[in-house]
């Protein structure tokens, strides 16, 4: 049965490598075509450790060294490759894949073209078996290969546990959010680049571990073993099993190996293919099967497994939102956000041309104006999504301009987007969970170092999320994918999400556009509650004048990138000249 054992051992090792691939490609969504490189780095590193640096018996250390080396490799590749231009990542990794083999052949310490031979067997301290080691258990004798298989299976189980811990943690959730829409993730104070890099590193490390195991399983590493075809094989495994599912990754590895091995028998004994064709045909059929899988089942056999959250029995009823009278004191004084002289040019066109605004707690300011008046651009400048050419913006004493979106968000300035932009492949409740701040579980290290703390934080986070969902009437939809709920519900979710983020300043970009008028009141209540109940400063861009009338304490009319007029809704909306202009009349108006 040496054959079966060998096959199973290799399968387990490959499964671990594919786990790593799943983290990078499936969870992290990075187009990655050089996976064999990480595997190879791991294999070589641990081989070098075992053959030259370490005394015998330190198998585990060597394997960990492999993981470490692969992680470092990933860091070196990822740091430049992921800066702002993830779309080139695939080509970078592909080129590296092409170089790797030649590089290894040319380097000295990798044993050059001969590779590294006589890598010691797996050994634990004093237990250093030779090839014929065996343990007689009366009924059957267990030899080294069996032990090796068990060890590798142990590692596979470990890797599965480790990866699923990652996937189903707040950290994994964040990574998926970044995969879906990194800009929004930044709008919620997360550093997308760091998230990407970290998951790449973890995935590579897992793969490196597999490489280390391979080195000690096969006792030899050579250049020809880590070429493009290996990457293709692992990729086939991942795609077949389902790149978004850890079970899929594991299963894909088993299935693909099973398939390739089965082909030997089918071609030789089954079909009696001409002898000298068999090797080529195995490759060909493998490739064709891969195409078929991609055509028939692009998402693989297993779908992404989404955590289903159960609604707590005793829900605190959301306090009834009472329509108090709006505070009518004129602006000025007590303001938390003040911006002025903002200027932004696109090409020749001045999108924002000296606009400014000032926001105060519990005050709702509405910006109106025709399309292209520069309303959204003002939001983009304030939230760091566009760099202002000139002007100033302060949150309290802190200047906002020139900061990255994530920083600004962390300072407490949150915004929504005109095109809703919720994380479509997160469930509704996950959208809320990700948005909430101060989650220790977002730090992958903490997941394993202080699991209790993470768990408790997650528990309270979950309770809070349910409250929010209740409050916005989304609790029924909690476990549905963001992409599966209706437009109005997505709009509502966007509000709920920004509320969950608990900012001090809220910038709402057309929060009610496209909303069924019958639902409108609900939206109005919530927005009003932001300001009045939660004492937040709210600024919204709005076209629907009914909404403006209803909500706004203060209205700013923008045109040509400037604020032409501002005042109470009645003042502004009552001003017929302004309104005529708003509707497209171009007769001069004194600002």
């Amino acid at each position: 049965m040496a054959y079966l054992i060998d096959v199973l051992t290799l399968t387990a090792i490959l499964a671990i490598a594919v786990h790593g691939y799943m983290l990078i490609k499936g969870l992290g969504g990075m187009l990655h075509l050089g996976h064999a490189v990480f595997y190879g780095i791991g294999a070589y590193a641990s081989a070098i450790m075992s053959t030259t640096l370490l005394p015998p018996g330190y198998f585990l250390v060597a394997v960990m060294a492999g993981a470490l080396a692969a992680g470092l490799g990933a860091l070196l590749i990822g740091w430049p490759a992921l800066q702002e231009r993830a779309r080139y990542f695939m080509i970078v990794t592909f080129s590296l894949q092409l170089i790797f083999v030649t590089l290894v052949i040319n380097l000295g310490f990798t044993g050059g073209p001969d590779g590294l031979s006589s890598i010691p067997r797996m050994s634990f301290g004093p237990w250093q078996p030779n090839r014929h080691w065996s343990l007689d258990l009366g009924l059957a004798a267990i030899g080294y290969p069996e032990i090796k298989l068990l060890v590798v299976l142990g590692f596979a189980a470990l890797s599965y546990w480790f990866c699923s811990r990652i996937v189903h943690s707040p950290y994994g959730r964040l990574i998926r959010a970044v995969r879906d829409d990194e800009r929004v993730a930044e709008a919620y104070g997360r550093d997308a680049m760091r998230a990407r890099l970290s998951i790449l590193l973890i995935g590579a490390a897992v793969t490196g571990m597999a490489g280390g195991l391979f080195a000690h399983h096969f006792n030899y590493v050579g250049p020809s073993q880590f070429g493009l075809d290996l990457t293709m094989l692992m990729l086939a495994m991942l795609i077949l099993g389902g790149q978004y599912s850890l079970a899929g990754a594991t299963f894909g590895a088993m299935l693909m190996v099973g398939l390739l091995e089965a082909l030997r028998f089918v071609l030789d004994d089954g079909l009696g293919v001409p002898f000298h064709m068999i090797a080529h045909l195995r490759q060909a059929i493998f490739s064709i099967i891969l195409i078929l899988i991609l055509a028939l089942r692009p998402r693989g056999l297993f779908p992404e497994t989404l955590a289903r959250y159960r609604r707590p029995a005793a829900m605190p009823r959301p306090e009834r939102l009472t329509r108090r009278d709006r505070a009518m004191e004129p602006p000025g004084g007590g303001e938390i956000l003040k911006a002025g002289g903002l200027i932004k040019h696109f090409g020749g066109l001045a999108a924002v041309d000296g606009a400014g605004l000032s926001l105060r707690p519990a005050l709702i300011v509405a910006i109106i104006g025709s399309n292209g008046a520069g309303k959204t651009t003002v939001f983009n400048l304030l939230s760091g999504f566009e760099r202002a050419d000139a002007g100033e913006a302060h949150l309290g004493a802190v200047s906002l301009l020139g900061r990255r979106p994530a920083e600004i968000a962390r300072l407490g300035v949150a915004r929504t987007f005109q095109d809703v932009r919720i994380w479509a492949r997160l469930t509704v409740i996950e959208n809320i969970l990700v948005s909430r701040r101060h989650q220790p579980g977002e730090n992958p290290a903490r997941l394993f170092l202080s699991p209790r703390r993470v768990a408790s934080a997650e528990r309270s986070n979950l309770e809070a999320a349910w409250v929010v969902l209740e409050r916005f009437g989304l609790a029924e939809k909690a476990n549905q994918l963001g992409s599966d709920v209706s437009y109005a519900q997505r709009k509502m979710l966007a509000l709920a999400r920004v509320c969950a983020f608990d900012p001090t300043v809220l910038l709402l970009d057309e929060p009610t556009s496209g909303v069924d008028p019958r639902r409108l009141d609900v939206f109005l209540d919530h927005i009003r509650a932001f300001a009045k109940a939660d004492q937040r400063a709210v600024c919204l861009i709005e076209h629907n004048m009914t909404v403006v009338r209803e909500l706004a304490d203060w209205v700013m009319y923008m045109d040509g990138g400037r604020v032409l007029a501002s005042g109470t809704p009645t003042d502004v909306l009552g001003d017929d000249v302004l309104m005529r202009r708003y509707l497209g009349h171009r007769d001069p108006v004194v600002a």
Partner: protein, 383 residues
């Protein structure tokens, strides 16, 4: 994506996996008991793929003969493919394990220095007789039961050097163009050594990837060193032809030479190879069976080895059985080394105990779209 659809797919997948593993586990292929299985390697790598075909064609002929004459002790011989993929040792081990475990092969012919070296212990454990057509000197050191069928690099270089001394006395310096793999590098080093003994100095050497886009820069550099001869050390797969063509086009008039890798049909038909070029390879003496000779002309020099491999296994097997032993790698190897000096229908071999083999080699040139035997160096000449 409805749940039951997924369920369906998963079930399909499970069945597939079961099927796969079942096939792995099942002794089904070994069912046709009685026949004697012999492993023959296959490769998809450029170069090896070519001569693996040749090897098989030769084996095919021998199998027909042998089985017509009762195989081994009345049991027919049956070939088993051993897929070494892209000459990848790990892939090779998997295939080899299958062949040993399920097909119960009694012998093997394979190549690729790393492939053989890394799987040497496996061969010994499995107690099978292995022949290698690799020229690597390390190969037989890794396994007691492995015998070199091919001449080793050092021998190739030695013969080439001698031939140059004899035929081209003017040559005082040479350069090597080698494939940047373990094998090419070994060939470079051995030739530097062997040529050196004959007072021919290595003046330059350049490496190239397997299947290079072109060799112009490498050869320009070599030719700048003004060597009297250039030794081509690729794995094969048309690189020899490319080397010859490029060298000539770059105006190199000197001697070009190579080893068995040049012994492929694409060289036979290469007009450019007809002047000032020779290679060292295995002879097909006039006495050899017609079928073998024609097949060799068609598929190249490795056809012989395929033929001789099967022939040898059959002979040894029958002897072993005659001595009342049962077929095993150890028995076969013992027999092989006991007989030591064996004359196959084609060649005379001296199988040494250290696994190396003294075998006749021949000097060939190309003429009128075919290889032309210059002269043969019999095993005894080389002893």
């Amino acid at each position: 994506m409805t749940a039951q659809l997924f369920g369906l797919w998963r079930r399909a997948a499970v069945v597939g996996l079961m099927l796969g593993n079942l096939l792995l586990a099942s002794p089904l292929p070994a069912a046709a008991a009685g026949d004697v299985r012999i492993g023959i390697c296959q490769s998809t790598a450029q170069g090896p793929a070519t001569f693996s075909t040749a090897l098989w064609k030769g084996a095919e002929l021998a199998l027909a003969d042998v089985n017509a004459h009762g195989g081994i002790g009345g049991h027919p011989l049956r070939p088993v493919p051993v897929d070494v993929g892209n000459n990848d040792p790990a892939q090779a081990r998997l295939s080899l394990n299958k062949a040993i475990d399920l097909d119960k092969i009694t012998s093997l012919v394979c190549w690729g220095t790393n492939v053989m070296v890394q799987n040497g212990p496996l061969i010994d454990d499995a107690d099978i007789l292995a022949f290698t057509t690799s020229s690597g000197t390390k190969v037989v050191k890794a396994s007691k039961l492995t015998q070199q069928l091919e001449a080793v690099t050092s021998l190739y270089c030695k013969v080439a050097a001698a031939e140059i001394k004899r035929q081209y006395p003017a040559v005082k310096t040479f350069a090597v163009l080698y494939v940047n793999y373990e094998f090419g590098i070994e060939l470079r080093d051995k030739c530097e050594e062997e040529f050196g003994k004959k007072g021919i100095r290595l003046v330059a050497s350049e490496g190239h990837p397997n299947a290079p886009p072109d060799l112009r820069s490498q050869l320009t550099k070599l030719i700048d060193a003004k060597p009297d001869a250039i030794y081509l050390a690729p794995i094969g797969g048309g690189t020899v032809a490319l080397g010859i063509r490029t060298a000539r086009e770059l105006g190199y008039k000197g001697l070009l030479t190579t080893y068995g890798a040049g012994d492929t049909p694409d060289i036979y038909t290469l007009k450019l190879a007809e002047d000032n070029f020779f290679y060292v390879s295995h002879a097909t003496p006039p006495g050899a069976p017609e079928a073998v000779k024609t097949a060799t002309e068609q598929y190249g020099g490795y056809t012989l080895m395929g033929y001789e491999y099967v022939w040898l296994v059959a002979r040894l097997g029958n002897e072993v059985l005659k001595n009342g032993q049962k077929l095993s790698g150890n028995a076969l190897v013992a027999q092989l080394r006991k007989d030591r000096d064996i004359q196959t229908p084609v060649n005379r071999y001296v199988f040494q105990d250290d696994g190396y083999t003294i075998r006749p080699l021949a000097i060939f040139t190309i003429e009128h779209g075919a290889r032309k035997l210059q002269h043969v160096l019999s095993a005894s000449d080389l002893e």
